[in-house]
Point group: C2
Chain length 310, copies 2
C-alpha cells in the first residue's frame, strides 16, 4: 500500500495508476481516521468492486463547530495504515491541515434543505464543511465510486444531493452500518465512552429494533412512534437526547404527525442523536415502503447478534 501525505504525491501516484489502467475503477473511502470495522467494510466493498481503493484519512477542521471535539478527535495513523492495508486499500492519503488548506479557503459548497434537519440543526455549519472537503477529495482523487457508511445517513443524503446538483462524475455507494456484537453502531467516538455509558448506549440500537415492531402496529403514527422511541431512550439515565426524528429519506421531509404511517409511500428514517456524558452518538434505521405496508430493512442488523454484521 502506498502512503501519500501530500497532494503532489497523490496526483503522481494516481497519474501512474491511470497510465497503467486508463479504464480501471478508482474507489474512494473518505474517512476521518481512527478506522474501525465499519470503515473496513467500505474498503472490502470497494475491493469487491475491483477498485484501486484510495482511503483518505483527514480530520477536517471545517466540519467541526467551535465547541466540538476537533482537537481531541482520536487519531492513530499507524494503526489506520495497518487496518487499511489489511482490508485491501491500495493507497492511503493522509494530508495535514496545511496541505488541504494552504491558504484561508474562500470557497464553500453549501447544500440547503437536507442540511437543516437532524445533525445539520444540531451542528450548524457541519455539512458545509463536509460538502466542501468531500468536493476537494473528489476533485483530487477523481474516483468512479465513493463509499459511505449509512450510520451517517444524512451525510449520504447530503452528498448524493451535491453530486446530483453539481453533476459530479462519481457514483455514491451507501453501505450498511456495521455494529458491535451487542448492537452498538461502530463509531470512532465509541472510545470516549466509559463502561457505564457503553452499556447504556445500547438503548439506541434497541430502540431502533423496537421501532421495527411498533411500526407494524395498526394505526401507528409518526408522533406516536417518536414518543415511544423517546420514552425507550429515556429509560437509560445517562442518555441526554439531542433529537429523535422520523422523516422521509433521502429528502428528510417531516411527516404529518397524525397520519397512519401505513398510508405513506415514502421511505422513512428514524434517526437518533443522544449524548452520553460529553460523547454524542448517532444511529438510524430505514424503513422501506412496500405495496400496502411497510417493510423493515435489515431487521437482523439491529438486533444483538453474536458476530459482526456488515
Amino acid at each position: 500500500m502506498i502512503i501519500c501525505a501530500t497532494i503532489a504525491e497523490l496526483k503522481a501516484e494516481l497519474a501512474r495508476r491511470r497510465g497503467q489502467s486508463p479504464n480501471g475503477l478508482i474507489g474512494l473511502v473518505p474517512t476521518m481516521g481512527y478506522l474501525h470495522e465499519g470503515h473496513a467494510s467500505l474498503m472490502r466493498r470497494a475491493a469487491d468492486d475491483g477498485a484501486f481503493t484510495v482511503v483518505s484519512v483527514f480530520v477536517n477542521p471545517l466540519q467541526f463547530g467551535p465547541n466540538e471535539d476537533f482537537e481531541r478527535y482520536p487519531r492513530d495513523l499507524e494503526r489506520d495504515a495497518a487496518l487499511a492495508e489489511k482490508n485491501g486499500a491500495a493507497l492511503l492519503f493522509a494530508p495535514s491541515v496545511a496541505e488541504m488548506y494552504p491558504a484561508k479557503p474562500l470557497t464553500r459548497v453549501l447544500i440547503s434543505e437536507v442540511t437543516t434537519k437532524l445533525c445539520g440543526a444540531s451542528r450548524p455549519g457541519h455539512f458545509d464543511g463536509v460538502g466542501t472537503v468531500v468536493s476537494k477529495l473528489f476533485n483530487l482523487v477523481q474516483p468512479g465510486r465513493a463509499y459511505f457508511g449509512m450510520k451517517d445517513a444524512q451525510q449520504v443524503a447530503v452528498i448524493q444531493q451535491m453530486v446530483n446538483d453539481l453533476n459530479i462524475p462519481v457514483e455514491i455507494v451507501p453501505c450498511e452500518t456495521v455494529r458491535e456484537p451487542d448492537g452498538l453502531a461502530m463509531s470512532s467516538r465509541n472510545v470516549y465512552l466509559n463502561a457505564e455509558q457503553r452499556v447504556q448506549a445500547l438503548v439506541l440500537s434497541r430502540t431502533l429494533g423496537d421501532a421495527g415492531k411498533l411500526l407494524t402496529e395498526p394505526g401507528m403514527t409518526a408522533s406516536r412512534l417518536v414518543a415511544e422511541a423517546t420514552a425507550r431512550i429515556r429509560t437509560a439515565p445517562l442518555a441526554e437526547i439531542d433529537y429523535v426524528e422520523l422523516l422521509t429519506y433521502p429528502s428528510l421531509h417531516p411527516l404529518d404527525p397524525d397520519l397512519p404511517l401505513a398510508e405513506t409511500d415514502a421511505q422513512l428514517i428514524l434517526a437518533l442523536a443522544v449524548k452520553f456524558g460529553a460523547t454524542r452518538l448517532i444511529d438510524n434505521r430505514l424503513f422501506q415502503p412496500t405495496g400496502g405496508g411497510r417493510h423493515v430493512q435489515n431487521n437482523d442488523e439491529i438486533e444483538a447478534s453474536p458476530s459482526h454484521s456488515h
Copy 2:
C-alpha cells in the same frame, strides 16, 4: 462539429473522444452564447493548444438577479454554431435550463471576499450562480484547460479562487479582452446600444487608456486616479456610473487612497461598470508592478486601432 443538447449526448461524445485519445487535452470555452470575436479568440487559443475544444452555450438563470436581463439576453444558436465551427470548436454543448437544472438545485458553490467587490456588490448572488454553473460545466466536461476572457476580470479571479480552494483539476487560461476597432470591449450586450450610446460608450476604453498615462505621473494616488477616471467618464452625458475602482488583482483588496501608487508592489486593476440607458457595460485594465515603477499592460489593446486585436 458535434452539437449536443443533452448531458447524456455530451458524456457519450466525450467518452468516445477519450477512448480514442486518453491523454488528449480537452479545452472548455464556457459562454452564454450570442458569440462574438472575443469568444472566437478563446476558441482559437484552445485550438492553438491542440485541444479538443468544447464550447458551452448556456444562459444561466442562476447568475441573473430578479431585475436583470435573463429573459431578454440575446440568443442565436444557429449563428453561434456557425461561429464556433468556423473557429475550430469540436463540440458545441447547448443544454436547456431543464437539462442543467432538472430539479430545484439545493447546492451552491459560494466564494467569499473576492465576490463582494465590483460586480459582486452591484449584482448580489451573481457570482454564486457563476461558481455553481462553472462547477457543473467542469464536472460535465472535465477539461484540462478552460478559457475565460479578461473583460470579466473579476470572474477570472473568482473562478481561479474556486479552482484553488476546491482542487479542481483544470488550468484556467485568462485571455486578453478583444475590442472593436474603435476600442469598445466586445460584449454580447453591445447589441442593446443605440447609435448615440454606442458612441458615448467609447469613454470607457478611452478612460482606461488615459489611466495608463496618469499612472506614471509622480505621486499619483488611488483616490486621485479614481477621481480623474470618474471625471473623464462623466464627460459622456449618457454615462451612469455603477462603479469606478482601483484594487489589487486578483485578490481585489482596496488600496490606501493616499499612498503613491509607485510604492505598491501589487498588480492593480482599474475596473469600470457604467450604464448607458438600460445597458450595463464593464471594462477594465491591469497594471503590472515592475521594480521601482509600474508597467502598463497591453497599452496597444486599449488605444483605438484599425484592426481587431486579441
